[in-house]
Amino acid sequence: MTVIGARLPRQEDPRLLRGRGRFGDDISAPGQLWARVVRSGSAHGQVRGLDVTEAAHAPGITAVVTAEDLPSRLVIPVRLAIAGTDLSDFLQPVLAADTVRYVGEPVAVVVGDDPYACEDAAELIEIDITERPAVLDARSPQNHQENVAAELTRGYGDTDAAFAAAAHVVRIDLAIGRHSGVPLEPRCLLAVPAADRGELDIFGMTKVPVWNRDLLADMLGLDETLIRVHAIDAGGGFGVRGEFYPEDFLIPWLAMKLGRPVKWAEDRAEHLMAVNHSRQQYHRIAAAFDDQGRILALEDDITQDNGAYCRTHGVAVPELTAAMLPGPYRVPAYRGRVRVVLTNKTPCGTYRAPGRFEGTAAREHLLDVAATQLGIDPIRLRMRNLLTPSEMPHERPISTLGTDLILDTGDYPALLAAAVREAGRLGYRGRTAAPGGNRRLGFGLAMFVEKSGLGPQETADVTVSKSGAVHVYSGGTSMGQGIETVLAQITADALGVDPRTVRVTAGDTAAQPFGSGSWASRSTVVGGSAVHQAALAVRERALQLAARMLEAAEEDLDLADGSVSVRGDPDLKTARLSLADIARAAAPASGYLKPGEPAGLTARRRFEVSHMTYPYGAHAAVVEVDTGTGRVRVLRYLVAYEVGRAINPMLVEGQLRGGVAQGIGGALFEEFRYDETGQPQAITFIEYRLPTAAEIPPVDVLLFQDAPSPGNPLGVMGAGEGGINAVGAAVANAVRDALRLPGGVGQLPLDPARVCALAQATTGQAIGGTA
């Protein structure tokens, strides 16, 4: 009996439920100092002077550092470089020296005995800034070419000819609001130096620990193996946590410089103006159709408001937007163009389903507008254009993240049909609005393709210790997705043990120095495949040693339930060997080891993959719109999603439901707004409105395991981003339906002001009563 597919309870739960998790700020070191980052209060300006004298002499303060104290003018390089773009002029310095470019940009750090004292001292620092005009609208004409960090095009075919010959051309504009992951745990870093040994222990790099370790080693001029990033709990990742930020250099550097542990725990206001923002794009999207409603061509002109710098993601988000835009459809010609514009706002990076939340919203909203204009039912219009199983795998002449875009497997029309059936069965279409008043119901649907399992590799070690426990050392990190449980299930399945005997360490760079991290929905796909292979290798080695111990042939042995027995020996005349027995037989000086054989019941395996795997799905939403107040309530929500194979369906459903909640936030509530001088207007949870339980409906999930991925031994596809991908699209379509809009909604989030304006624009036109 395999444990793959079982709804096992999570291994992470007991410690987290008991308050025994180890989050960043839960860890302290003897003699530690605290750091407070001093940030620019101006959106754009010239730094004339920085007076730290008073702060440096404040009680309890050990040091105050500014850009002048740094080794050189350090900038943070790009982690995800896209061929053909040079962003070297747009990278963020560790500390701003002459110019500040957004409110929240680090300019100094105060270090002292106590975080309260550090905050007091930080207020004593006087920054003399000559203000300059702030660029806040990426589309404004004042945005000269010097603010364009990159321009890129993805596409194929002759779109101009297709548009010229089309029976119908449909075009909309859609602005996607600036919002981001906003995990509930703010960032935290603790750096503990062992000065005499030149070593450095780091707690708090929780996404790509090996990459961050290597970059830090490079910047500090240290050998990378002297730095150990520890595996800790992370209070949500969602793309933003664990990228290399200025603080990721500053805190370790201060610890080395001062020879004492230094801790930095971000506060919420800092988080909301310092951590990667995301999503802000302006789409001008158009489709050409023939007279049967078949897509002839698609084009999208996208402006990305990237904020003040290009950070570690470079232009990966706009590139993904353009590359993934055609989605699940047959698109004979396509051109996506992106202008990446710098503005005086917090720099942008990835947020769960980067580029796809935005692109899916633009494409799927366009299709609903097109359905109205062409007089075709929106579902039928999609069915007519979806790629069919006979067209799979479908290669698009597009590269993304350095890989060729090949939609690997699936039956898109069957999934859409199933989603529509399920929505019907659950009564999504038959609902009526409360009588009277201004309330109207709307139904919206969206179809999408996700991507997952980005390579190029992941490495895993599986080791059986002498107690018989199985240890997995993965390069992934634990941030709430349940990686410990999932990898334990994969190990248990491959090795033939109880998953409760498997202990997973995720993201410790000493235990797994070749990891690539947890992001891009890659941990189960790539990390899981590496663990699968390593566990199979341990199984093989265990059987080899057991054969020696039992003086039997390997092919006569079976490993199940954690022990080896001889096949066809029901009376157990031969002793069973536990994995503990075999691990002891693999210990150094064991007589069972042949000369030259390495000791230990252990294996390291690397899983390499050059293509991503593409899960897909459909979302459906029922909303109630109050045309008087502009309030939108999501009443029902359905996600239909194909994952190839679910290692633990409970966790997959959890990923999807959580993604929907975040998507509803981005579609209706969450936005980083700025005033006309570039002051951020959302720096607390009062202005940055995360949805509560009152705003999130129960989410219906239809999970499919019909299209195993051909690209990995487990057949799995990633599940991390399918819940959020199409929420903007489905909610926009449902609101449009409720208001019977002839065109599009124009922007997300659909806040009350926008909804009232849309409702008023349709006043005078006949609005139907019920959905």
């Binding site: 007991p14 308050g19 839960d26 209070g235 949500g236 919420r268 929907v660 509560t692 339980a693």
Partner: protein, 167 residues
Amino acid sequence: MKDMHEIRLTVNGHVHQLVVEARRTLADMLRHDLGYTGTHLGCEHGICGACTVILDGAPVRACLVFGVQADGTEVRTVEGLADGEQLSDLQQAFSDHHALQCGFCTPGFLMLAEAYLAEDTTPLTEEQARELVASNLCRCTGYQGIIEAVLATARARRPGRKPADEA
């Protein structure tokens, strides 16, 4: 000069006596002075509820209470819920209903629900559970599992009664 105060309080049944600065929050005091790091700080301005603890029977945001205000009180934190290695019924329900992912907000939800369920013994409806859960923020789960876990615990704690949402 720091304004220091000597206080005495009980946390999960253990008596603590310590000297704290007047402005130190209860959350920082619990976490950094007394080692109860299960109480988490997500916003430090009273919105997210991750720092919720039970102070003399009532759920409070520990980021909005000063440590000195806890002088003479009885505080319960998440560390006090389990009986030895045995999870409480509410903790077990959270695991059973997949009510947590990253687990950072979880202690706050547990203490919020624990305080509510201890005080209010009338049957809990789905709507009431949703309203209760809407007091705090969770970024991972979409809340469904949390609501289910609270409802399941409420039902189980009323043996022999009909579940509220089926009555």
